[in-house]
Amino acid sequence: MIILDDIWIVIPAYNEGRVIADVVKNVSKSYPNIAVVDDCSTDDTFAHAQSAGATVLHHSINLGQGAALQTGISFALARGARFIVTFDADGQHQVDDINTLLKRREEQNADSVLGSRFLGETERMPAIRRFILKAAVIFMRLTSGLQLTDAHNGLRLFTRETAMQLHIRQNRMAHASEIINQLASMKVKVVEAPTKVVYTDYSMGKGQSSMNSFRILAELLVGRLSK
């Protein structure tokens, strides 16, 4: 039986001072254990996340989202987490989808559940972004062997055992493909669950632009080459 204390939500954050308090408060309505990893933000991300009730870890220099995820996962494991869910700090993810992942894990007895916006739904997703992410999916299927529908979704669930085997070394955006490649080589049971991603003016203004989509694709390729 899963108790709430078994679940840790890990939120890597960089300069999300405007929205992090709301994100943490929304998550905390259902899940009390939240670890925000402040990746050396230059705004008030740390203070806002802390005052909203999260446990906040702080990187003294900016390392990247991949590094922040690994720090958060390491912390959650140290706190005895049985299940770790990674969640974006910019408000694109829905708290209800955490429950979707947990339910899918139980139904399938999976070791990891990855959110998929293409099984679920998206709101205001730019067309170029959709194209790039679809291309990334094809690339990911060819390179990892995992038949996923979404290669770059920050909403993921890992069991403790799986999280203990993960070692994210790609500090920046290439961590997404690294996680998938590591899951594939661990030969653990990986399933997907439908999730919703909302593209807000805030998240799109923060650099989730079309150019960033190309960068994601480029860094997936670099991540593969530097493996």
Partner: protein, 113 residues
């Protein structure tokens, strides 16, 4: 000029010997290159002889190709070292973040300490 080249190369070898504990591979490569430099300064035709044997036009071309190869190796070496340094830096920053957060949790649980 030849004496100048020989002196510079000898100084280079002497310096490399002082650095042999830091990066033995680099020391070996640079020392061999310096010894080759001395040989070529004393026997300039040697590069043309070697070039002809290898099917390359001129000694100068041969030297150029070797320089490209050595430079490529050095660049790759530096890149790999950078990756390693970056990983070490990441581990340090992460350890600091975790220690601070876990210590805070312990002190929150034991406010009297």
């Amino acid at each position: 000029m030849i004496i100048f080249i020989i002196i510079i190369n000898i100084l280079c070898i002497a310096y490399m010997l002082t650095q042999r504990h830091r990066s033995p591979v680099i020391v070996w490569i640079v020392s061999l290159a310096s010894l080759s430099g001395i040989a070529m300064a004393l026997y300039p035709e040697i590069t043309n002889d070697i070039a002809r044997k290898l099917g390359v036009g001129r000694g100068a071309d041969l030297l150029f190709y070797f320089w490209i190869l050595i430079s490529f190796f050095l660049i790759i070496n530096v890149q790999l070292k950078l990756v390693s340094v970056n990983q070490n830096l990441t581990e340090i920053v992460r350890a600091m973040a975790l220690e601070s957060a876990l210590d805070k949790k312990i002190s929150d649980q034991n406010p009297g300490d």
